[in-house]
């Protein structure tokens, strides 16, 4: 009789709430790849599991923290960053991660987003950008490309879209990066850097909603969408030497901001406390 070898503990055993699976996402949804990448990154950082708090808003993507075995809050649509700010402020030793969709983060939660960037509070924000509102059935979001079709832009979207990374950068975030689910290795390393960063970090994870955005725009199935992404993502370095025409339709990935010399908010507050106590 051959003895069965013990299965090595996989990081999913540790970091996924097995009892909450299967998840609610459609087959082929990009959200799973982002979660996978995030868990690998968390594992690499060696951060203590008990000291991590995942705060999410509302949307398909915001369901992610329910499957992940950390402290978590599934809050209101667009508000995750404001909740997370309170958590981090009261206990700066916690590693606070916000999981949010493109609509959650840049539409209803847009104001919280730019202000969190501005404060440079040590929170890592993962934006699952699938270019539409998945949860409510596929309406256009602030990141839906012009001309794309959604349930509320059946004649083509006429609203110019946000570039989430530019928005984060100009608002003051000190680590800003973008990757796609077609290159999960890059995503893992960006998450890892973001988690190790002291300050407000944003990783825009370009993912797919094949069920809604894919179908209505005739982009094929999940595999076809992924293959298409592979042909379209380029690095920031490559983008530098390209003309606007060449850039059209491309997804520029990589790190856009990585500033380590700026004061972090909770550390600044500690200084404020010290000053307040010295003042009579």
């Amino acid at each position: 009789m051959t003895e069965r070898t013990e299965r090595k503990e996989h990081i999913f055993d540790k970091y996924l709430r097995q009892d909450k699976l299967p998840h609610i996402w459609c087959p082929g949804c990009g959200n799973g790849t982002v979660v996978n990448a995030l868990l690998h990154a968390i594992d690499k950082t060696g951060l203590e599991q008990d000291k991590i708090v995942l705060v999410a808003g509302i949307g398909c993507s915001s369901r992610a923290n329910g499957y992940m075995n950390f402290c978590g809050m599934h809050t209101n649509h667009g508000r995750a960053l404001a909740y997370a700010t309170g958590v981090k402020m009261h206990n700066p030793e916690l590693k606070v991660i916000v999981l949010t969709g493109d609509g959650d983060c840049t539409s209803i939660g847009g104001n919280h987003f730019i202000h969190a960037c501005r404060r440079n509070i040590d929170i890592t924000t993962v934006v699952f950008n699938n270019a539409n509102y998945g949860m409510t059935g596929g309406q256009y979001s602030p990141t839906t490309p012009v001309n794309a079709r959604t349930k509320t832009s059946v004649y083509g979207n006429i609203e110019p879209n946000f570039d989430i990374c530019s928005l984060a950068a100009t608002s003051g975030a000190t680590y800003v990066a973008r990757s796609t689910i077609a290159n999960a290795t890059m995503m893992v390393s960006q998450f890892e850097k973001a988690l190790n960063h002291r300050g407000f970090s944003v990783v825009e994870a370009i993912c797919d909603c094949p069920t809604l955005f894919g179908r209505i725009n005739k982009l094929g199935d999940a595999v076809a969408m992924l293959a298409d992404k592979k042909t379209r993502f380029i690095t920031a370095a490559q983008a530098k030497n390209m003309t606007p025409d060449e850039l059209s339709g491309k997804i520029i990935t990589g790190e856009f901001v990585n500033r380590t010399n700026l004061p972090e908010y909770t550390e600044q507050y500690d200084v404020l406390i010290k000053n307040a106590k010295e003042e009579e």
Partner: protein, 380 residues
Amino acid sequence: MEDRFAIMTGNEACVRGAVVAGMNFFAGYPITPATEIAEIASALLPKKDGKFMQMEDEIASIAAVIGASFAGAKAMTATSGPGISLMQENLGFAIIAEVPIVIVDVMRQGPCQGVATAPAQGDFMQTKWGTHGDHPVIALAPASVGEVYVETIRAFNLAEKYRTPVHILSDAMLAHMSERVRIPEAKEYEIVNRKTPTCAKNDYKPYQDDGTGVPPMAKFGDGYKWYVSGIIHDETGFPVTNEPEQIGLQIRRLLSKVENNRGDIEKYEEYRTEDAEILLSAVGMVSRSAKAAIDQARNEGIRVGLLRPITLWPFPERRLAELAGQVRTIVTCEMNEGQLFHMVRESAGGTNVRRVTQNNGKIISAQKILTTIRELQTND
């Protein structure tokens, strides 16, 4: 030891009471007539290792307060009319996630921007029904600066004890007027801290009834890895949208936290009710005019008394019903169109209920109430 006194405004008393209760986090957004609460908190908290944050709006303010409470803070926010309206959605989260927080609503004349500097009582019903869905509510309505101080302490205690948001209803006049306040000694009040779990780390169910109706609350980072959804959840904190029985059960328990503990939560003041034939009911500042009117009426031989809910929600229904059996007429005195009137009428049985209302940014005068009392005496 001699009593200690201090002169302060209602807004200052609110912050001082909160600090005594253990407040160590405040988030807010400036709005008249609540602004001084934020200003004073910003100055006081850092000296005591607490934290103050001016957020981008009131939506963020209450969210940050809730987040801080999850991390173990005793947290408060303060606002007025437009701001309290903005807070309603996240207030619902605090209720369903059972988070102890304190919300100060310094009422100003509404609707909309209304009159920023004028007192009003237009938020009674918003406090009760403002966030969608049925839910438990605790709202305390002090009538003097000294009472703001002690009721703010009580607000924190009730929030911690019942794991639920607690409102303090002040108004523009109470907020800005100065009064002499007797500072209670530490032995005069208790400080309640939320119950924390003692079970094994993996056995913790954050919404499981431990027999008291109020589950213990872990804080983020202390080793209990728990999750809560703002979706109706079961005792583990996870959504249960397809199970009507569970949904009903969870909502029942939420409501029962306040309903089953009315005796502990309710607080009211009675003034000259022993032999009253006419009963006034008034909340907050208006009760002071009501008392003056009562004294004058009694000089004229009219037997009038006052029931003043200090806990506006849950409303002291039972005591009101008892007094309704004793008196001929009940008159609510209020600075709105009759929000208290409707509540009182619901508990008054067959007793005649009238109202004296004034909705113009001025506190109702004793004279106005007295006029009504005299009319009732001759006509009823």
